[in-house]
Symmetry: C2
Subunit: 233 residues, 2 copies
């Protein structure tokens, strides 16, 4: 029986754009584990109440329920050691830093570039919740958050410097092969890629070149996924 | 025969403050390798010309010369696999991200808080070189770079968020034991600690608590090292 995963979806149930769910999708594909994804909306708290919390991803693996993308990655690594996501305890410990960096630096910066665009792809029933919860968080309208993003793009790209330096020295954040570190950063970048036509990366950025390699992994899993791409305009 | 290491020193030859040399010192101690350090000054390019470049750390291990702290760490791991610095290829690949983050985010931010203080600890013969090379880099006087640092301290502390999040979840950046990731970030923080009385961290910061544990490692190696500490005032 394949793993079931509740996965954030837009008005189009095929549009999947959660940065955390993408980390899990890629980790599952890396392990070669079949998954049945269940489209979930922000207002569908009841549908995942069985997990004891209110956010996705949530996976159900036989009788086991696991939530939180990092906890899921640890669970998958323990249940299915190969191919490895972390390359051992130290690799996992170091990946936690990359996870913390993605969550605390990359993700908030991306939000300030595309958060208003997200509204347009959401299921109508999610829109009021999304607008009011995010506007409370930012202390301003979504339109105001996103305003002037063209001018803020160079500063955003600067934030990716650590990843860029690494990708100049090695093909993957995981070294000679992709690891969960790749899925963390790639998953985070899938979020804007899926919801916005606003291009975050210059085409000749080593991060963009790596992103293309990531899109090609697992038979083009992430590439084939519906997205409101810059080049789909 | 013990490894020799050229190590940046101040006017007091016992004052060692290079963020890169501290990474190497800690890595050598982790491996239990005895080291003979040779005080080096910025203007002593001739003394390390044998390494084919002009920066420290440089180590000489028998007939082998290695420079650049990251390259030295890889060399030590290869020559002396245990105790491990990286925990395998993936752990090393992930540590490279932390190294790139320390170099591109942490180090420049620290420089803007203490660069003028460094001048006071330097050997007189290094001062003109240091001032002119750094002022060219910043495009302003060292005094101007450092000005208003109290106001910039909260933003600096915010930059440490990824490390802080990790250290709330595990005792070391390396997980249950220190790894080279710890030496990277700790070494970077030894730099301001050794040259300035300006305190960068709040005492109750998990990063400060971890820093104290790091200072206690290897018989208090880094704690015993001469430093112009905030609390030495």
């Amino acid at each position: 029986m394949s793993i079931q995963m509740h996965d954030l979806a837009g008005a189009d149930p095929a549009l999947r754009f959660s940065p955390y769910c993408w980390r899990t999708r890629m980790a599952l594909a890396h392990k070669g584990l079949p998954v049945e994804t269940i489209p979930w909306r922000f207002t569908g708290k009841d549908a995942i109440a069985f997990s004891g919390q209110g956010r996705v991803p949530v996976i159900r693996d036989g009788g086991t329920v696991v939530s939180d993308s990092w906890t899921i990655a640890e669970y998958l690594e323990e249940q299915h050691p190969t191919p490895t996501l972390f390359g051992g305890a130290t690799g996992r410990a170091h990946a936690r830093f990359i996870n913390a960096w993605a969550d605390s630096v990359l993700l908030p910066a991306i939000a300030r570039l595309v958060v208003r665009d997200i509204l347009d792809v959401l299921d109508p029933k999610d829109r009021d919740y999304f607008r009011s919860s995010r506007e409370a968080r930012f202390g301003m309208t979504l339109e105001a958050v996103q305003e002037g993003r063209e001018q803020r793009l160079p500063a955003f790209r600067e934030l990716l410097t650590p990843a860029r330096l690494v990708l100049r020295a090695q093909p993957w954040l995981g070294g000679q092969a992709p690891s969960y570190a790749d899925f963390i950063v790639f998953g985070t970048l899938q979020w804007p890629r899926c919801v916005s036509r606003f291009s975050l990366l210059a085409a000749d950025d080593p991060v963009a070149e790596w992103q293309q390699r990531m899109l090609d992994l697992f038979g083009g899993l992430a590439c084939a996924a519906p997205a409101i791409c810059a080049d789909a305009g």
